[in-house]
Subunit: 474 residues, 2 copies
């Protein structure tokens, strides 16, 4: 039977065991790349389906731009280039012939998309322009980890153009709120909305918003970002428009994205020693039916199983019936490892009462239920599971944000307890760097909900400008 | 106003005008690559959504494999390598550093997927193994045409493994039938199912099935393919399984795919001098509402428009209301160019009767209709339009398959009339090549529905083995 290490023993090994044993991934013979096996890919499909609708609801159209970016484009925005240069994978030949121009495999598509926008945008009537694409991207990373950091990953990237900064700033917020609602409503995660520190801002952006999620090992994961790019890319790519007053102006751009990293985030936020624990809304199978067979009455049990399948099908519930010849205990452990929210057990003794037993992955609760009640009860049970998962996440988060005043206190918390330390900060780069070399913790974000800041910077003692969260991060 | 060339004047220019003016694509500053603008991408999304469900209905799971293929993999299957070598785009460096191994950008994924299959397959219990992926692929083409032949394109590729050839052969047929039903039911195209000649078979396959679609200029388009790969790839990648009899055996593989080429196929099969003509099932907008405003009663017209929108929304009909300040005639032409199946006109004079006018893109038929009847009638009208389009396609096809006995007759038909010539053929490569140099026509396919073959090869006069269709092709 598949075995995974416990979280407390070695969290990193727990994670690597889980992604293999739950049949989510396989490693590929390509440095830092992985194969999304069907179980993981189905989670991604369910995520995509929901998020795609939310993106469309923001008035954004999907499109598709070439994956190859002429190298000359990448160098147009200086900060952007500096941020990505060492990770850029580059195609230089076709067959045995050298290409006329080298092409970078997109690390992100600002440059190729904004080149097109410069041709498409003429007047204020063309604004706002809002497009999104679902695509694969490449960043040649030195240290990789399945889902969280891989050389190739999948994502969506939204790219919008606005006539003024106010409109762009609103878009950046709308995108962040969309991700927040998605993560809360679909993934049962309540992330922290914040602004990245200048050191962690997207190369070329004015500022970057993030949603930070706390993993079970108390390190933070940046689960998505939303950037206000200001006018720098518009200037680099000559995007301009004639405004109503007939003046030629430079627009304001935004970009925002969520990647397959979200699957790693989900695993680390909800997983436990039994394995994956999936919220019902993105579980490939929401219910696994396990008929308990013992020869006597098997035919009747299987007949009743068909009846249950029919009920689930009519409710559009994603289910799987496990008829393999493994022992029930083995099957239970296997489907727990794969995080299926509800196990439905049905044995000969349940037949008399026309009932079955539901067992919830999240809290191991067992529920005896009449088969005639399944139709009505299962959707309610999904809602309950989602809420249980969200409550647990929120409690865990609350316990792991500790407010402190000095760097010594902050360092102690980071080293001994983990999680977020909440500190007063002057916003100076030097303070972030000095605390990082002390503790290995960076600024996770400056929460958007700011309390009134009074007091001194936790690191340098000068006047503080913001309350910030510092944590070790993925 | 956007103008496109007529088909009879210059079909190729008509096509290139159309894809630009209907706002389907833009050219990218990357050789042979194009941008899928939202209108085209939405067509692709609708195609994907339908086809994906059909693929899943065949018991195939979606997964995702790395885009980068170690160069050493590509050379494992000799014919495969020879078929693709000159088109292979290759990444050789990251930043300014040379990679340890060069990576080919996938031209198709047999090699990287079968390497994984060799690790995953152990016993007959693992078979059949059926996976599919939706991905971007790269073939560095010398001559390109939007959708039909581009250096990067989007597709799905199915890859299955079977314990015997019979099962593999059935899969190859099932995939072809799936594509056939999709094209007929969704695209209103009735393609010819056939086998490719040996010269046109996929590099490394035992045989290749195709669906051939006749474009309005009477050239044929290979709209998808399904390959029986036999055992060659399994041997090259060391895929084997322990069968029930405990013997170690080599399985049989298949692969099959449909690409964004299908959008070009759709345009060329149904388009006319007014532009694109879309079947309702994949039209981004199925209905365009054009309120005819003339100041008097404008408010009432707009109020009624809202009422109509509500009716369409409730029926899940994809609609767009054009409230731009262009003249109605201009709007009519613009939406005809974009191929919207139904135009709904509503003016002040329609208010008294609580009616509106529907105009069908396919045949310009005008229908006066009570607004209270829209709910019931519009779905019927979509069915009717689909049937009209299919009938037209079938009639066009029937008129353009001419059976002849000699190469002289065949050449005359190809040169003067175009379309398919149906001939007796001995299946020898030399005959295909010699007729090609005479007429520029290749063997489009050997139709799966074979009549009894009697007679001599149209080219060499030896005994014929099959009835084959020859045509000029894209």
């Amino acid at each position: 039977m598949a075995k995974i290490c416990s979280q407390s023993e070695n969290f990193s090994r727990w994670y690597l065991d889980l992604v293999k044993e739950a049949d989510l991934i396989d490693y590929a013979p390509v440095k830092g790349c992985m194969i999304f096996k069907p179980y993981a890919y189905k989670i991604w499909e369910l995520i995509k389906e929901d998020l795609d609708q939310r993106i469309k609801n923001l008035g954004v159209d999907n499109a598709y731009f070439p994956m190859l970016i002429p190298e000359s484009f990448i160098i147009k925005e200086k900060e952007h280039l500096e941020g990505f240069a060492p990770e850029l994978l580059t195609a230089t030949r076709v067959g045995q012939k050298k290409l006329e121009e080298d092409y970078v495999l997109r690390p992100t598509s600002e440059t190729i998309i904004y080149d097109a926008y410069s041709r498409w945008i003429e007047s204020y009537r063309d604004l706002p322009l809002k497009m999104n694409q679902w695509a694969n991207v490449f960043r040649w990373e030195l240290k990789t980890k399945p889902f969280l950091r891989t050389s190739e990953f999948l994502w969506q990237e939204g790219h919008t153009v606005h006539k003024d900064n106010e409109d762009a700033a609103k878009m950046v917020e709308d995108a962040l709120n969309m991700y927040y609602e998605f993560q809360k409503e679909i993934l049962a995660i309540d992330p922290i909305s914040g602004k990245k520190s200048p050191a962690e801002t997207f190369p070329g952006a004015d500022y970057t918003y993030t949603l930070e999620v706390l993993a079970k090992d108390k390190k933070t994961i940046q689960s998505c970002t939303s950037h206000n790019l200001g006018q720098s890319f518009a200037e680099a790519f000559n995007i301009s428009f004639t405004d109503e007053d007939e003046k030629i102006k430079t627009p304001y751009l935004t970009s925002w994205g969520m990647t397959t990293r979200i699957i790693g985030t989900l695993i680390m936020a909800h997983g436990d020693d039994k394995g994956l624990c999936l919220p019902p809304k993105i579980a490939p199978y929401q219910v696994v039916i396990i008929p308990i067979l013992n020869k006597k009455d098997d035919e009747k049990v299987l007949e009743k199983t068909k009846e249950i399948e029919q009920i689930l099908k009519e409710q559009n519930i994603r289910y799987k019936t496990d008829l393999s010849d493994k022992r029930p205990g083995f099957k239970f452990a296997e489907w727990e490892l794969k995080g299926v929210p509800v196990r439905l057990e049905l044995g000969a003794r349940d037949l008399e009462n026309n009932s079955c037993v539901l067992c919830l992955r999240k809290n191991s609760e067992k529920i005896n239920i009449k088969i005639t009640d399944l139709k009505e009860e299962i959707p309610k049970i999904f809602v309950k599971i989602h809420q249980l998962m969200l409550d647990d996440y929120q409690n865990f988060l609350k316990e792991n944000i500790i407010e402190v005043e000095t760097k010594e206190e902050a360092e102690k918390i980071i080293k001994e307890k983990g999680g977020f330390v909440k500190v007063n900060w002057c916003l100076e780069k030097e303070c972030e760097e000095s605390f990082k070399s002390l503790s290995t913790a960076k600024c996770a974000c400056i929460p958007l909900k700011q309390e009134k800041v009074k007091g001194k910077c936790f690191n340098c003692g000068k006047e503080a400008k913001v309350k910030a969260l510092f944590a070790k991060s993925y």
